[in-house]
């Protein structure tokens, strides 16, 4: 108990009244000795006691700010080079083990690209809505930016996240970034898909929408209409700025909780239909192999997952410090509800430490005490 109080004072936080009084007495005793050295004190230059950056004028700022140069090691990691043996796929992994907080900075958001990152001129890009609609419409990006938008703080996860272990004969001795780096979270701001589909007017019998991107592979996926009318948006902004090119500039689909591949980037066409198209990716690469030897192409939601980000491979748990872990889920399952309930009942302190409130479909980070820590909230 005593040690805990000392740590608080050293940390510059709470200072007890008793320790202030004691400090005052010792100051009075020392003042008579100090008179002898007062002459040399007049010549003293305080700069000698300060580091270089406290003595020289700082540098300039820049139009687009960058992280401190001392954080240069924090960066994404290339999972697969764009080589034929990877079917031209590249994956850039988020350094989940280095981050604290729910929002992934835009430069660190994971990227997964089957057809590279296209260089799209927003003035020449259009969104087309056609098929089973009353009025087939096209929209310029400029006009879409004038629409009412909503904010959605959501995680995005490649369905291939952690697939390294799924495809390896034995579980890999890899870092958190290598194994779990294909998940990120951002505040996405965009137009509700339902608003634009409403403007075009849905015909009776419409049930699916084929969403297509403007990349070289015209990436396309069949999306159930119900999801698009529910909580899906066409995102234009990512954490307050326009989408990064690698995240689908000028616009992308954002289907909360659904596998990354369905969140079509560089969105340029929505074709309303009564049935799915069985596109290449839903037929093969993104179809799931089930235990009964069947394959499921239309499996969309990302289920509950969790990972300890600190300490993870390459890190040590300090004698005093916090363990940190991530939990996320694409749909509220009974299993998740049960887990959340148990946490709230048994370890309320743990959830108090949660940086963000528990909200469906985003990425909460839970720090919780490591072994060596004396923490008032540990039980």
């Amino acid at each position: 108990m005593k040690r805990m109080q000392t740590a608080y004072i050293a940390g510059g936080g709470l200072v007890e009244r008793r320790s202030l009084l004691l400090g005052g007495i010792s100051f009075l005793a020392a003042s008579s000795i100090n008179q002898a050295v007062s002459a040399s004190e007049g010549n003293k230059i305080i700069g000698d006691d300060f580091p270089a950056w406290s003595r020289t004028l700082g540098g300039g700022d820049s139009a687009y700010g960058q992280p401190s140069r001392y954080e240069h090691k924090v960066g994404r990691k290339l999972q697969l080079p764009a080589a034929p043996e990877n079917s031209g796929t590249t994956g850039w992994l988020t350094p989940v083990q280095d981050m604290r907080g729910s929002i992934t900075p835009n430069g660190l958001h994971f990227g997964s690209h089957h057809f590279g990152v296209p260089d799209i001129d927003p003035e020449k890009h259009e969104l087309l809505i056609h098929g089973m609609v009353d009025r087939p419409l096209k929209f310029s990006v400029e006009n879409l930016l004038r629409y009412s938008m909503i904010s959605s703080i959501r995680f995005l996860e490649c369905s291939g996240n952690t697939a390294i272990n799924g495809l390896a004969p034995f579980s890999g001795d890899e870092s958190c970034q290598d194994l779990y780096g294909l998940v990120s979270c951002a505040q996405w701001v965009g137009i509700r898909v339902a608003d634009l589909l409403g403007e075009a007017g849905l015909k009776n019998g419409s049930a699916w929408v084929i969403a297509e991107g403007a990349d070289s592979g015209s990436h396309s996926r069949s999306i159930p209409l119900a999801k698009l009318m529910d909580d899906s948006i066409i995102a234009f902004y990512q954490n307050g700025e326009r989408l990064r090119a690698e995240q689908g500039y000028p616009m992308r689909l954002l289907l909360p909780g659904w596998e990354g591949n369905t969140n079509v980037k560089y969105l340029h066409r929505l074709e309303v239909t009564d049935r799915p198209a069985y596109t290449g990716h839903e037929s093969g690469l993104y179809a799931e192999h089930l235990t009964n030897d069947k394959m499921e192409g239309f499996s969309f939601t990302m289920d509950v997952k969790s990972v300890i980000t600190h300490p993870s491979a390459g890190q040590l748990l300090e004698e005093k410090g916090f363990m940190k872990f991530l939990v996320w889920h694409g749909q509220v399952t009974a299993r998740y509800r049960k887990w959340k309930f148990r946490q709230m009942k048994e370890k309320p302190g743990r959830l108090r430490n949660c940086i963000f409130p528990l909200v469906t479909k985003h990425l909460p980070i839970f720090p919780f005490p490591g072994n060596g820590m004396e923490n008032p909230q540990s039980s």
Binding site: L128, H130, S148, E212
Partner: protein, 176 residues
């Protein structure tokens, strides 16, 4: 106060922007490249398996291998198994080859029309959308031939492509 309340509850329905402009039939036809399993939207034209072989060796084999099985890019024909996680030979298979070479387009995709759709929109990988409709029929035919699903002398067109029964059709959990 009332003004504040209103500003917080403005939704698109109450305040429609409606800036879409009508698409012409011609614009829709040009953009609509989706092919459906029943053959809807397949273009006129045809291609032979023999012609497909030439095109394949010229433009596809570099990445997919001469027989569509050896890679290095995604396997197009045959498979060495791997369906169930309970498969006792799963570990052996994964250790033998890259994960993308275990299954193949021919053994995994439930409809042949998807091959036409995907090749036309996305292939060849560095120069997508550079093949004519006839050439895409020919290459689709050759990929089907590599999977023993059509004969060497066959011609592929919009009428017979949707008729081809793919091995994965029965294995696929279809959309509700």
């Amino acid at each position: 106060m009332a003004g504040l309340m209103v500003s917080f509850t403005i939704h698109a329905e109450q305040f429609p922007v409606n800036l879409g402009t009508l698409l012409t039939e011609e614009e829709i036809t040009r953009a609509n490249i989706t092919i459906y399993p029943d053959g809807q939207n397949l273009p006129n034209g045809q291609g032979s398996v023999l012609e497909g072989r030439k095109l394949y060796n010229d433009q596809c084999a570099f990445c997919h291998g001469e027989s569509g099985t050896e890679g290095p890019a995604h396997r197009l024909a045959g498979s060495i198994g791997l369906f169930s996680i309970w498969d006792p030979l799963r570990i052996k298979r994964i250790m033998e080859v890259n994960g993308l070479l275990v299954m193949s387009t021919g053994q995994q995709w439930p409809y042949a029309t998807t091959i036409f759709d995907f090749v036309r929109r996305a292939m060849p990988h560095p120069t997508a959308k550079s093949l004519s409709n006839n050439q895409v029929y020919a290459i689709t035919g050759y990929i089907l031939y590599l999977n023993d699903l059509v004969g060497e002398q066959d011609l592929i067109d919009k009428n017979n492509l949707p008729q081809i029964e793919m091995p994965a059709f029965k294995r696929f959990v279809h959309a509700q």
